[in-house]
């Protein structure tokens, strides 16, 4: 088995076994604490530009299944795991996780002390790194990590966005004969979904809830979006720093506010925050996992949520006269959602569509439909 190296910009080196593609990739090294759902993480476009460390130690056990892809391909730059299983053991698997990543050109380093790596990132903050399954020249790799682009200020959303608009009507389907989501609602509402790196399960959930979707590129102007005569506009999740979008997509989004009901998730929430005059900041090591408790201040209920974000909206930067904070993270009290007091608009920082993660917040899709229905 050949050697793989993960080199961090601060000079920290991890050597392990190489799986996946023979290649060298740079990215921001981040960790995700989900126990299940590695394939959905691989294929979430929000991980573009990131090398992902999974804290769950046994990865690859259940292989990969086409139905679980959250986009067309894996978007992670590289994968770091404690132990990687070349064997896929699950009735749903189409291929092994190894074949899946190798075919997509993603390098994997296995056998490293992922906990030590996470402790390092937790105390020093996320940083740039290089994952190489080609070279073991650690000094050169550290140099490459230092010279790689920083996540702060990086617009990745427009890079991963679709180039052409396309329709979506597919609802969610149970994963086995025992999972029944009920019949999809009649698709009465036309929703324009801005793709900043959208996950398929968001589209499926909206479609299931009664939306006929038109997915549009990140750069779509407000006029073009309104020309589609939507009942509502959805702003998707996506990778990178939201701030560079301030002078691009966010300007157009601002023009849509108040004109149509709007719903944003993750980067979509950050863009709305920026468009409404708020500020975003970079978290030390982000929120990535499937166990974050979020308090819904409107119901008093706690939702266990899936999260994946390195930036957050500063709640103090929001205009309290217009906006109401609806959700907060109970771990660190950061902002997880807000709504406009008078205009039809709400958004959340976390991922109600799950995939991977718990289904506690699916009601938000119904809320969006209701917002459109009430107009």
């Amino acid at each position: 088995m050949s050697t793989a190296v993960l080199a961090l910009e601060d000079g920290t080196i991890f050597e392990g076994s190489s799986f996946g593609a023979p290649v060298e990739r740079t990215g921001e090294v981040v960790f995700n604490t989900s126990i299940t759902g590695y394939q959905e993480i691989f294929t979430d476009p929000s991980y573009s530009g990131q090398i992902v460390v999974l804290t769950a130690p046994q990865i690859g056990n259940y292989g990969a299944a086409e139905a679980d892809n959250e986009s067309v391909k894996p978007f992670i730059e590289g994968l770091c795991v404690r132990e990687f299983s070349p064997l896929a053991s699950n009735w749903r698997a189409d291929e092994s996780a190894q074949a899946f990543l190798t075919n997509a050109g993603v390098p994997v380093i296995s056998g490293i002390d992922t906990r030590a790596l996470v402790l390092h990132l937790r105390s020093r903050g996320v940083m740039r790194g290089v994952l190489s399954t080609l070279s073991t020249d650690t000094a050169a790799l550290v140099e490459r990590a230092k010279n790689s682009p920083s996540m702060a200020g990086l617009d990745l959303a427009t890079r991963v966005s679709t180039t052409k608009q396309y329709p979506w009507t597919q609802p969610v389907v149970g994963c086995s004969p025992s999972e029944d989501f009920g019949a999809p609602a009649e698709q009465k509402y036309h929703v324009v979904a801005y793709d900043f790196g959208i996950k398929r399960n968001i589209l499926r959930r909206l479609a299931h809830g009664g939306c006929r979707l038109t997915v549009v590129p990140a750069g779509t102007s407000a006029a073009d979006a309104l020309a589609l005569k939507p009942n509502g506009v959805f702003l998707s999740n996506g990778p990178g720093d939201p701030e560079p979008l301030l002078n691009g997509p966010a300007l157009e989004i601002r023009k849509l506010i108040g004109k149509v009901p709007m719903f944003g998730i993750c980067l979509g929430h950050q863009i709305l925050g920026l468009a409404l005059g708020g500020k975003t900041f970079k978290l030390k090591f982000g929120h990535r996992g499937g166990n974050h408790p979020v308090l819904n201040k409107l119901t008093g209920h706690v939702e266990i949520t899936a999260q994946n974000h390195g930036f957050a909206v500063d709640p103090d930067s929001l205009n309290a006269n217009d906006l109401e904070i609806t959700h907060i993270n109970l771990n660190d009290q950061t902002l997880e959602g807000f709504r406009h007091k008078s205009l039809p608009l709400f958004c959340v920082q976390y991922h109600p569509e799950a995939a991977p993660g718990p289904h506690d917040s699916l009601y938000l899709f119904d809320d969006f439909v209701k917002l459109m229905a009430d107009r």
């Binding site: 960790f31 604490t33 989900s34 126990i35 299940t36 759902g37 394939q39 959905e40 804290t55 769950a56 130690p57 046994q58 056990n61 259940y62 299944a65 139905a67 679980d68 404690r82 132990e83 299983s85 064997l87 053991s89 699950n90 009735w91 749903r92 002390d113 992922t114 906990r115 030590a116 996470v118 402790l119 937790r122 149970g174 994963c175 086995s176 004969p177 025992s178 999972e179 029944d180 996992g289 499937g290 166990n291 974050h292 408790p293 308090l295 008093g300 209920h301 706690v302 266990i304 109970l330 771990n331 799950a354 995939a355 991977p356 993660g357 718990p358 289904h359």
Partner: protein
């Protein structure tokens, strides 16, 4: 929703004695609940009949009742204490059943007691099979398909159509199908039909057996993947999953008998979330208001179809495992939720900053492996099925599954982990197909013998991912075996250690000592480090030093520079070594903390209080092997290590540890060893002029026969260094000695077999004593056994204070105990077993360590023995703790009675002998012996009758004294029946008696009467003879199934008669430990 202020006094129901399926995990959960509620200002009233529990320590409740967990006694406690609420969900099935009984009898209503945790309708819905099925169907959850098949009980046509209906069902689903006749005792007549022939036979038989001629035919989910979800809910309907668990053994093996793994390893997120949604829906539909529940699922590995198997609306064995596996204290939180808190109002103990309302995520793998003891039940087939048989379990934490499994296997202490087990090639297939205690061993062996993963998968239905892991472990072992100590590289050592391989396994392959392997790998820089269990996969800082070893790059142990002592725990529960030792270890830890010394606990048993991260300053969840203990020693460098509280497990490590330079505190391991060494110990007794039964030790068959001849039969034979009388036997002739030696010698290898003259009809006495460095001895308890010598001390009821010993005998016992304690330089606890015959006192056995009776004596005297013992080890004196001298006084009568698992082992003779077979114990308290004994018997589940027919059959020498008892029973209103010889003697004593046949004499005989349920008590002596009679066994077995108490010794019979008399005479009355012992507390100890 904050804390409820309308409640002031809360009653907690414990789980009673340790039985198979309900062990000390409920001491863990109950103790957590007590602590949580008291720290919140509630007054806690506790009922639990088990004196060996931490939860029954008077410090943990405001009123602690060690009383029978029956309706009448529980009601009396409620009447007296007037609690506002009763928490039903932390005491296992026993606790739940008692809560339901109290509610149904109207007691809770009468006294205005609110049931908190789970309400009656929820409990019913979860436990009643039909209600549960309806509820689950209502919320759209799938269950195994089933159909009732009925016969009118008469016509042939009706029966034929019933059989046809069965065949139709089986045709719609695939074979096998499960058949369950309705309303048969213990599910008898049911079975699994693998084909049409089986089906017709079992179905027809079942229709005949069922009193309503009905059989439920059910789709089989055998071989499906099995999962459990540990769920919590608060009053605001916030729900979380604490942990998912996947069973290594597929459906068909009870989850308590399965190797289980946390978290689930082979589920996609889609499947996991489907199961999560189903678990929460189930919890809501069943209506568990607050607390923890456990939901079990099966998934068809071919289609992904998921069915719900069952749910427990309470804290369970799995929730204890989940708590230890994640660091999330389910029982503690459940108690807080029950009094109104919300999950988000409670903080995570480990991170301190984040709330408990989250789902733990873990960056390691946990494996639980059960521990069985079929060897103690000859006649029981060592096969695993849907009824739980294991007596204990171990848990191991590793960074990977392989590491966890490797650690788990050696935690079991079966000696099999280092490759010493013997397997037979021709048995491989059979051992893989039928689940059994050796199945994992046979899977490994099959791989060694060249079986493929597919072959093993087809035979076992175990998930291929698990089999690949096991296969990789075997491959690596074989690779290492091909190397040598000198040629193995650092990388190879590191890989082997990271994959869980023990030093001892490599040592065995290389024919070197494990310490050589240790030295070499350390030289190469391959050393264990410690990672923390932190609930959050390192996302937040951990403030709780709960650790497991790994061979990763960073050590998170962060040892302190305080004065510290390490306590070695007792490992998996097994018969003879269970909760009593955990009790001692916990108290050792509490005492250290009280004395300002840092306590470090090492143990691998997930059921215990000692492995609660709250118990000690620092917890290492590790196997109790020399390798692992030395690893911890290297990192922690404690000032002392305590080996005398954990039973045999740490004692076997004592001398190797001492030799490795580890400072053992308390009695010197060499003196502990001396007591086991026949020759040295015999010399010591000679010097002290203390008599003991004639004895010797042998290492050969001929040697054993010669010694037996010279000391005279009957003799007691046993291997050295065992607890619980493992393989101990009384033999009456040479042939039996030979037969025994063939078994025993293979059991204990180079350890000699000990042979003692067996004193028939002697009274056995257990003594617990403390001795300090100055040689001051305090006798804590002189316990008189109710059964005669020959019955293992752990299986005999005993009483404090002694009731029949003369003042002279007690003085002699006191003198001998003091002499022995001083001669062995005991520092701490010691236990001595004496036999008293004709006023002469013989020493049978000396154990210079904590004994099984330490908690019972502590509860009876109100003096915490382990705490004082720890003080003595730290150099304190007895007078620092108590003003008592000589023998501690006992304010009332306290009887300890054993509880046996015979109902789980059909076909086993439930007789008592020198090999211990009880799993647990209860205590009864009374103002007189009879009252205490009656309560103990009731608590042990063998209540004595108040009226009815007593059946006597007595050994010749027992006939005259037996007749006196018959007379007394007659006066108490019982009718007497006896076999011919016994009847004659009883009749001569002027007591009316009916004569019945012995089993081999004709009919109706005693067994017929039993089956007709016309006997309420059996007194049957004479069972200690050389040959075992079939009819005795039949009577005992039938008595067991009919739940009729069967007394096999005359002393036992005397005690029973006194107890029955007390039931007539004395009112139902209860005493809390706080009342009994008043404010008397063990002094702080300076």
């Amino acid at each position: 929703m904050p804390r409820r202020n309308d409640l002031k006094r809360i009653m907690i129901v414990g789980s009673g004695p340790i039985i198979i399926g309900q062990a000390c995990e409920f001491d863990y959960s109950g103790a957590q609940a007590c602590k949580a509620l008291r720290s919140d200002g509630y007054e806690v009233i506790l009922i639990n009949s088990n004196p060996a529990t931490i939860m029954t320590d008077p410090e943990l409740a405001d009123a602690t009742y060690i009383e029978p967990m029956s309706l009448e006694y529980a009601e009396e406690i409620i009447r007296k204490e007037r609690p506002d609420a009763l928490l039903s969900t932390v005491g296992g099935q026993t606790g739940l059943n008692l809560a339901v009984a109290l509610a149904e009898a109207g007691v809770l209503e009468k006294y205005g007691v609110e049931l908190i945790g789970a309400k009656i309708p929820a409990i019913k819905k979860a436990e009643d099979r039909l209600l549960f099925k309806d509820a689950m169907r209502k919320i759209g959850l799938d269950l195994p398909q089933s159909q009732p098949i009925k016969w009118d009980g008469q016509s042939r046509e009706s029966k034929q159509s019933a059989l046809d209906a069965g065949l139709d069902f089986a045709a719609c689903h695939t074979y096998p199908v499960i058949l369950r006749p309705s309303f048969t005792m213990g599910g008898s007549g049911g079975g699994i039909a693998y084909n049409q022939e089986d089906l017709l036979q079992i179905l027809e038989n079942g229709l005949e057996l069922s009193p309503i001629h009905e059989v439920l035919i059910e789709e089989s989910v055998l071989g499906w993947k099995e999962f459990e979800m540990e769920v919590m809910r608060d009053q605001a309907d916030n729900c979380i999953i604490v942990c998912s668990i996947e069973n290594f053994d597929p459906m068909g093996v009870h989850t308590g008998d399965s190797i289980t793994v946390a978290p689930a390893q082979t589920l996609t997120d889609r499947e996991y979330q489907m199961m999560r949604d189903a678990s929460l829906a189930c919890l809501r539909e069943i209506g568990v208001d607050t607390g923890g529940s456990n939901v079990q699922f099966a998934i068809d590995p071919k289609s992904g179809r998921m069915v719900i198997v069952e749910m427990n609306p309470r804290v369970s064995r799995s929730s204890a495992l989940a708590s230890k596996a994640t660091g999330f204290p389910i029982a503690k939180i459940a108690a807080k939720l029950a009094v109104g808190y919300r999950l988000d109002e409670i903080n995570n103990d480990i991170t301190l900053k984040t709330p408990a309302c989250f789902e733990p995520t873990i960056d390691y793998v946990v494996a639980k492996i059960p521990r069985w003891q079929f060897e103690k039940f000859p006649g029981a087939e060592p096969v695993l099925g849907t009824q739980m048989k294991s007596v204990g379990e171990v848990m191991a934490i590793g960074r990977t599954f392989k590491q966890a499994l490797g650690k788990g296997m050696r935690s079991l202490e079966t000696g099999k982990a280092d490759g010493a087990a013997v397997f037979q090639e021709d048995l491989i297939k059979a051992r893989l197909i039928t689940p059994n205690p050796d199945r994992l061993g046979y899977i490994r062996y099959a791989f060694e013998k060249g079986f493929t993963e597919d072959q093993v998968q087809q035979l076992t239905n175990i998930d291929p991912w698990f089999l690949r892991q096991v296969r990789e472990m075997v491959d690596e072992e074989q690779l290492m075996a091909g190397l040598t100590l000198g040629t193995a590289t650092k990388e190879q050592f590191l890989s082997a250690k990271r994959n869980g391989m023990a030093d001892s396994r490599m040592a065995r392959a290389w024919n070197v000592s494990p310490l050589d392997v240790r030295a070499r790998r350390k030289e190469l820089g391959v050393k264990a480090v410690y990672n923390r269990v932190d609930t959050c996969a390192a996302e937040f800082e951990s403030f709780t030093p709960y650790m497991y070893s790994s061979y990763e790059s960073t050590c998170e142990s962060k040892p302190t520079d305080r004065k510290k002592v390490m306590i070695l725990g007792s490992g998996p529960n097994r018969i003879g070594q269970g909760i009593e030792f955990d009790y001692c270890c916990c108290h050792a830890s509490f005492a250290l903390q009280e004395f300002g010394v840092e306590s470090i606990m090492v143990n691998c048993n997930p059921e215990t209080v000692s492995t609660d991260y709250d118990t000690s300053d620092r917890l290492y969840f590790e196997p109790l092997t020399l390798e692992e203990v030395l690893n911890i020693y290297d990192v922690e460098k404690p000032d002392g290590v305590i080996v005398q509280f954990g039973g045999q497990t740490p004692l076997t490590l004592a001398i190797p540890l001492k030799n490795a330079g580890v400072p053992i505190i308390g009695t010197d391991p060499l003196n502990i060893d001396l007591a086991e060494d026949r020759k040295q110990f015999g010399r010591l007794l000679d010097e002290l002029k203390i008599p003991s039964p004639a004895n010797g030790s042998a290492t050969t068959v001929e040697g054993a026969c010669e010694i037996a001849r010279s000391i005279g039969y009957p003799v007691l034979v046993r291997p050295s260094y065992v607890l619980g009388g493992r393989a101990m036997a009384i033999v009456y002739d040479e042939e039996s000695v030979r037969r025994y030696m063939y078994e025993a010698v293979t059991f204990s290898q180079e350890r000699p077999v000990l042979i003692d003259r067996f004193l028939e009809d002697a009274t056995e006495v257990d003594v617990d004593a403390l001795c300090d460095m100055e040689g001051t001895v305090l006798i804590a308890g002189i316990m008189e056994h109710i059964e005669e010598a020959g019955v293992h001390s752990g299986d005999s009821s005993c009483v404090l204070p002694a009731t029949t010993l003369s003042a002279g005998t007690i003085a002699t016992i006191r003198t001998y105990t003091e002499q022995l304690a001083r001669a062995l330089n005991v520092i701490g606890l010691m236990n001595i077993q004496y036999a008293v015959k004709d006023e002469k006192v013989y020493v049978i056995e000396v154990n210079p360590r904590a004994s099984r009776t330490a908690p019972y004596v502590s509860k009876a005297t109100g003096v915490l023995l382990p705490k004082i013992a720890v003080g003595l080890m730290l150099g304190k004196k007895i007078s620092d703790f108590t003003d008592a001298v000589g023998v501690l006084p006992v304010p009332q009568f306290f009887v300890k009675s054993p509880v046996f698992p015979f109902n789980k082992f059909p076909g086993v003779d439930p007789s008592l002998g020198p090999e211990m077979r009880s799993t647990g114990e209860v205590m009864g308290v009374g103002e007189n012996f009879g009252e205490a004994f009656a309560k103990a018997q009731l608590g042990a589940g063998t209540p004595l009758p108040d009226s009815g027919q007593v059946f006597f059959t007595l050994d010749d020498r027992d006939k005259l004294p037996g007749a006196v008892l018959a007379k007394r029973l007659h006066e108490l209103g019982f009718t007497i029946t006896a076999t011919r010889g016994t009847a004659n003697v009883i009749r001569n004593a002027g007591v009316p008696v009916k004569t019945v046949f012995k089993v081999n004499e004709g009919r109706p005989n005693a067994v017929d009467l039993l089956k007709a349920r016309s006997i309420s008590l059996i007194i049957y002596t004479g069972t200690t003879g050389a040959a075992a009679f079939g009819d005795e066994k039949a009577i005992r077995r039938n008595a067991l199934t009919q739940r009729v108490p069967c007394i096999t010794t005359l002393n036992g019979a005397r005690a029973a008669v006194e107890a029955i008399a007390s039931r007539r005479r004395d009112p139902i009355r209860v005493w809390s430990l706080q009342e009994i012992h008043g404010s008397k507390k063990t002094k702080a100890g300076g």
